[in-house]
C-alpha cells in the first residue's frame, strides 16, 4: 500500500501485528515499566477465539506522585482500647504479634488498555484509575495526578477524554476519543521525508501513536526505541 495515499487507519489484522511489534519494542527498551500483555477478547466466547481479537493491557501502574512523609513501618502494639466494633469485646484476642500500620500511604494506580476501534479503524487508549483498596477514582481526581502542562496542551488539540463502555469488559472506562487519530497519524508519517514502506509504518505505528497519547499521562518512551 502506498503510504502517500494512506488515510492513517489500520485494519484489525494490522492492529494485531502492530500491537505485538509495539509490545516487543517496549519490553526490550523501556526499563521503567512492566511489559504489555495481549489479552483475548472474543466476540463469541463459545467458539474458539479467532486470533485477531484482543487488546494490549498494562496494569497497576502507580501514578501517584512521591510523597515526602512515609512512615509505614511504625511498630506499635495493637490498640484494643476504644473500638467501635460489631464484634463482642470479650472475644477480642490480644495479639502482640500483629503489626499495626498507621499512616497508610495511599497510592493511586492506573490500568491502560489499547483496544482496536473498528468504527474509527485506529487504536484507542482506555484507562481507569483506582486506590490501593480497589476504590475507583473519578476523572477529576485522576487529572490531579497527571502532569499539568501535558494534559492541557494535548486535550485541547489531539485528545479528548470521554467515559464509555469498555468493549470487552462491558464496564465504564475512560478513553481518549479516537476521532482525530487517523488524521494526526497520517501527518506523523507523512512529515517523515523518507517515503517509508507500509510494513515499516505498521511496525512503528503503535509506537508513534503511543508517543503522543502517552504524554497525557506522562508516560514517556525512551529514545532508544524510536530508532
Amino acid at each position: 500500500m502506498d503510504v502517500l495515499h494512506w488515510d492513517g487507519t489500520l485494519s484489525a489484522k494490522d492492529f494485531r501485528i502492530g500491537a505485538f511489534a509495539f509490545a516487543q519494542k517496549w519490553e526490550s527498551c523501556n526499563l521503567a515499566f512492566p511489559p504489555w500483555s495481549w489479552l483475548p477478547c472474543p466476540k463469541h466466547p463459545w467458539l474458539a477465539p479467532p486470533e485477531e481479537e484482543g487488546y494490549l493491557s498494562l496494569e497497576k501502574i502507580c501514578i501517584s506522585r512521591p510523597n515526602e512523609e512515609e512512615d509505614i513501618d511504625q511498630i506499635s502494639q495493637i490498640d484494643t482500647g476504644e473500638e467501635e466494633t460489631c464484634c463482642s469485646r470479650n472475644e477480642d484476642v490480644l495479639d502482640d504479634a500483629t503489626l499495626v500500620q498507621s499512616n497508610h500511604h495511599e497510592l493511586h494506580y492506573c490500568d491502560f488498555h489499547i483496544v482496536y476501534s473498528s468504527t474509527f479503524r485506529v487504536p484507542v487508549l482506555y484507562f481507569r484509575a483506582y486506590c490501593s483498596d480497589g476504590r475507583p477514582l473519578p476523572l477529576d481526581e485522576i487529572e490531579k495526578e497527571l502532569p499539568a502542562c501535558a494534559s492541557k496542551e494535548l486535550s485541547k488539540k489531539w485528545t479528548f477524554i470521554t467515559q464509555e463502555e469498555h468493549p470487552c469488559l462491558k464496564r465504564p472506562w475512560y478513553k481518549l476519543h479516537p476521532c482525530g487519530t487517523a488524521e494526526w497519524m497520517k501527518l506523523l508519517f507523512l512529515s517523515d521525508t523518507a517515503n517509508p514502506k507500509f510494513e515499516v509504518v505498521l511496525e512503528l505505528y503503535l509506537l508513534s501513536w503511543f508517543s503522543v497519547v502517552g504524554q497525557v499521562f506522562g508516560l514517556r518512551i525512551s529514545l532508544k526505541i524510536s530508532n
Binding site: D95, A97, P172
Partner: protein, 653 residues
C-alpha cells in the same frame, strides 16, 4: 510480610485487601441473575503477587475472576485465570447477606473461628505441607445494596495466634543467607511458581521455622531485596490435640478502626448516572470539534416553559433535550386522543386508554423514559383567551389561571408559544413582554409555518408596582424602550402585524379548520427551527435585545457568530420547499406588546385582563386600532389578509 520488631517478638503486618471494581460487578450480576435471595456461602479466590514496590506491600486482591463465572453473561472470559502477572491464588469464602441488619448480625468471631479451624485441620492432616496455599484463607462478609449501589464489606485473613509469640533470631538479605547454588535453585523455584496453577503463597511460614520474604524487581525474584530469617516458636503442649485450636485473629482494620468498609459504585453501575454522562458526550464532542464557543452551562441551567403539548410541543421538548436542556415544563389542558401518537412524538397508544391521559402528564412521563435525569413538570391548565367570555361564576378560577400563568412565566427563562389558536397566544405574549422574557412562537398553516422570536417588551426594567402606583405611566415613559442602542425599533411580537384584536377563531369554523390539519412534515421542521433559533439567541451577546439579521446569499460561509445569523422571523412554505427570513418591528398599536397595553396591565392587573377577555373590542379601543380602522376605512383601502411573499423590506403598519 515479616519485619524486625522491637525486642525480639516476630511481628506480622496483616494483609490488606484490594477489591477490583469488576468483583462487585460480577457479584451484583450473580446476585441478580443467579443467587436471588439465597445467601449460602460462596467460594471465592483471592490473588496475591510478590511485592514489587519498595515501601508498600502488595495487597490481597479480589477480581471478577475471584467469583465463579455467571453463565448467562456472554461477555465473561473463560474460566482460565489471566496469567499476565504473578498471581497466586488463595482459597476463601464469601458470606453475602440480603440485608444490612443481616450483615451486622453475622457472628464474626464464629466465622473467623470456623476458618481458623480449617487451617488447623490442614496443618494436622499434613495437607498444609503439601500445598501451603491452604495456610492462607480469605474470609469476606458483605452486603450489596443494589438500589443505591453501596457495597459494605469486611475482610478477615484468619491467622493462628501464637501464644507465647514467636521470636526473631536472625534476619538477613537472601543473597547473604543462601549459597550460590541454593540461591539459584530458590530463584528458579520462585519464578516457576508464577506459571504453576498450583502455586503456594509466597510469603508463608513453612515448617514454622524459616521465614522468607520474597521481593520482586521487575518480575523476577530479587535476592538482594528478599529477606530470609530464622524464628523461634514455642510449641504448646496442647497443639498435638486437634480440638485445641489456637486463637485466631485477622479482621482487617479500616483506617485503624475495627469497622467494615463501604464503597459506592453508583457512578459506574447506576444506569441513570451512566445515561447522564453519556448524554453530555455528544454536546461535548460538538464543542471540542466544531463549536468551541458552545455554552453548555447556559443550556444545562435553562428553564423552559412550553405552552402546548401537541405536535409542536412534543417536538420542541425533544429538541431541547437534545441540546442539553434539562428543565422543561409543559402546559396543556387536553387529553391524548387516539389520533395523536402518530403526529405528537411523545405519546404512544398506551396513553390513549380510558379516554386518554392528560397530555401534560403523559408528556412528562415520556421525557423521563427517554432521559431519567430530566426535570420535567406537567401543568394541566387552560389559557384564558380574549373573545371567549367568562361567566361570573368562572371568573374566580379564570383569574387564578391568569395568576398561575403569570407565576409560571416569571419562574422560567424561555417561553415557547406552541398552542393551536391565535387568541391563546395573546395573554402569554403580554405577560412575557411585561417581563422581557425570551419568547418564541411557532405557528402552522396547512402547508406553511412561521417561527419567530418576540422582541423585548416596551419597558427596560420591571417597575416596583407599589411605589409607582400613582404615576406608573409617567415613570414607565421614562423607561420606554422604543429604540435599541442603535436607534433601531424594537422587534415585534406575534401580534404586531395584526390590525384586528385576537378574537374567537374556533366557533363557526368548518371541520377542517377546527381540526388544525397540517402537512405532517411542518411540525418537526418548525419545532426544530424554533429550538435552533433559541440556541442562537442564547449565544448572542445581546440576547433578547439582539437585532435581526436576514439570510443573504452573498454572506457566504462567514458569520460573525459561530452559529450563524440570528433572524427575527422565519416563514416557510412546503409547496415551494422554501423558507425565508423576515424582519418586523414592533407596532405602537399592538394589542399584546405595545406600551399602552403593558402599562394598562401594570396599572390594573387582572381586571385589565378580564376586560380584554370579556369585551372583544376593548383591546382595539385601548390601542387605538379602532380609530385607525375608522380612518383607514374612510380611504377605502382594501385590506389583504393574506401575507404575501415580501422582499427584504420591512413590513410596517
Amino acid at each position: 510480610m515479616a519485619k524486625e520488631g522491637s525486642g525480639s517478638i516476630l511481628q506480622f503486618a496483616p494483609l490488606q485487601s484490594s477489591v477490583d471494581e469488576g468483583f462487585w460487578h460480577r457479584l451484583s450480576s450473580l446476585k441478580l441473575n443467579k443467587f436471588g435471595i439465597d445467601d449460602s456461602p460462596i467460594p471465592i479466590s483471592g490473588f496475591y503477587a510478590p511485592c514489587s514496590h519498595p515501601q508498600v506491600s502488595n495487597h490481597l486482591t479480589l477480581l471478577a475472576e475471584s467469583l465463579l463465572s455467571d453463565s448467562n453473561d456472554e461477555s465473561t472470559m473463560p474460566s482460565v485465570i489471566r496469567g499476565n502477572r504473578n498471581r497466586c491464588s488463595v482459597p476463601g469464602i464469601l458470606y453475602n447477606t440480603n440485608t444490612m441488619e443481616g450483615f451486622h448480625a453475622l457472628d464474626k468471631q464464629g466465622l473467623l473461628k470456623a476458618e481458623a479451624m480449617k487451617i488447623w485441620e490442614e496443618i494436622h492432616s499434613g495437607k498444609a505441607v503439601e500445598d501451603c496455599a491452604v495456610l492462607s484463607r480469605v474470609l469476606l462478609i458483605s452486603f450489596a445494596d443494589l438500589k443505591k449501589w453501596n457495597f459494605h464489606y469486611w475482610f478477615a485473613f484468619p491467622a493462628l495466634a501464637l501464644d507465647p509469640p514467636a521470636t526473631l533470631v536472625d534476619l538477613r538479605p537472601a543473597s547473604q543467607w543462601f549459597t550460590l547454588e541454593e540461591a539459584e535453585s530458590v530463584s528458579t523455584a520462585c519464578n516457576e511458581w508464577r506459571n504453576s496453577s498450583v502455586t503456594a503463597g509466597i510469603l508463608r511460614i513453612w515448617k514454622l521455622v524459616n521465614v522468607m520474604v520474597k521481593r520482586e524487581n521487575r518480575g523476577f525474584a530479587d535476592l538482594n531485596l528478599s529477606l530470609v530469617g530464622e524464628a523461634l516458636i514455642t510449641v504448646q503442649q496442647g497443639w498435638r490435640e486437634q480440638q485445641c485450636v489456637p486463637n485466631a485473629v485477622g479482621w482487617e482494620l479500616n483506617k485503624g478502626r475495627k469497622v467494615p468498609r463501604c464503597i459506592n459504585l453508583a457512578k459506574s453501575m447506576d444506569p441513570t448516572r451512566l445515561a447522564i454522562s453519556a448524554a453530555d458526550l455528544n454536546l461535548k464532542l460538538m464543542r471540542w470539534r466544531a463549536l468551541p464557543s458552545l455554552n453548555l452551562e447556559i443550556l444545562f441551567s435553562l428553564k423552559c416553559l412550553l405552552l402546548g403539548a401537541g405536535t409542536l410541543g412534543c417536538q420542541v421538548a425533544r429538541m431541547l433535550m437534545a441540546w442539553g436542556v434539562r428543565r422543561i415544563t409543559l402546559l396543556d389542558n387536553g387529553r391524548v386522543a387516539m389520533s395523536n401518537p402518530l403526529r405528537q412524538s411523545l405519546y404512544t397508544l398506551d396513553d390513549c386508554h380510558n379516554g386518554g391521559d392528560f397530555k401534560a402528564t403523559a408528556a412528562v412521563r415520556s421525557l423521563q423514559r427517554i432521559f431519567p435525569a430530566v426535570e420535567a413538570e406537567g401543568i394541566v391548565m387552560a389559557i384564558p383567551m380574549p373573545g371567549h367570555p367568562v361567566s361570573s361564576q368562572e371568573e374566580k378560577s379564570v383569574l387564578e389561571d391568569c395568576k398561575r400563568l403569570n407565576d409560571l412565566i416569571d419562574s422560567h427563562d424561555v417561553i415557547f408559544l406552541l398552542t393551536d389558536t391565535r387568541e391563546s397566544r395573546w395573554l402569554p405574549t403580554l405577560l412575557c413582554a411585561n417581563r422581557n422574557k425570551i419568547t418564541i412562537t411557532a405557528a402552522l398553516g396547512f402547508d406553511s409555518f412561521l417561527v419567530m422570536r418576540h422582541g423585548p417588551g416596551p419597558f427596560n426594567s420591571i417597575p416596583n408596582l407599589k411605589a409607582e402606583m400613582e404615576d406608573s405611566l409617567a415613570a414607565g415613559m421614562d423607561n420606554l424602550v422604543l429604540t435599541n442602542t442603535d436607534g433601531q425599533h424594537r422587534l415585534g411580537c406575534y401580534f404586531c402585524n395584526d390590525v384586528v384584536a385576537p378574537t374567537d377563531s374556533t366557533s363557526n369554523r368548518m371541520l377542517d379548520q377546527q381540526c388544525t390539519v397540517t402537512r405532517p412534515g411542518l411540525a418537526p421542521i418548525a419545532s426544530a427551527l424554533a429550538v435552533e433559533l433559541l440556541v442562537g439567541i442564547l449565544h448572542h451577546p445581546n440576547g433578547i435585545f439582539a437585532e435581526a439579521e436576514i439570510a443573504n446569499s452573498s454572506s457566504g460561509g462567514n458569520f460573525e457568530l459561530p452559529l450563524g445569523i440570528l433572524p427575527h422571523q422565519i416563514r416557510g412554505s412546503l409547496p415551494h420547499f422554501q423558507q425565508m427570513t423576515l424582519l418586523g418591528h414592533s407596532s405602537n398599536s399592538c394589542t399584546a406588546c405595545c406600551s399602552t397595553v403593558v402599562s394598562e396591565y401594570r396599572k390594573r392587573g387582572m381586571q385589565f385582563i378580564l376586560q380584554a377577555i370579556n369585551h372583544p373590542t376593548y383591546l382595539e379601543d385601548v390601542t387605538g386600532l379602532t380609530e385607525l380602522m375608522r380612518s383607514a376605512n374612510s380611504f377605502q383601502l382594501d385590506w389583504d389578509d393574506d401575507i404575501e411573499v415580501a422582499d427584504d423590506e420591512c413590513v410596517e403598519l
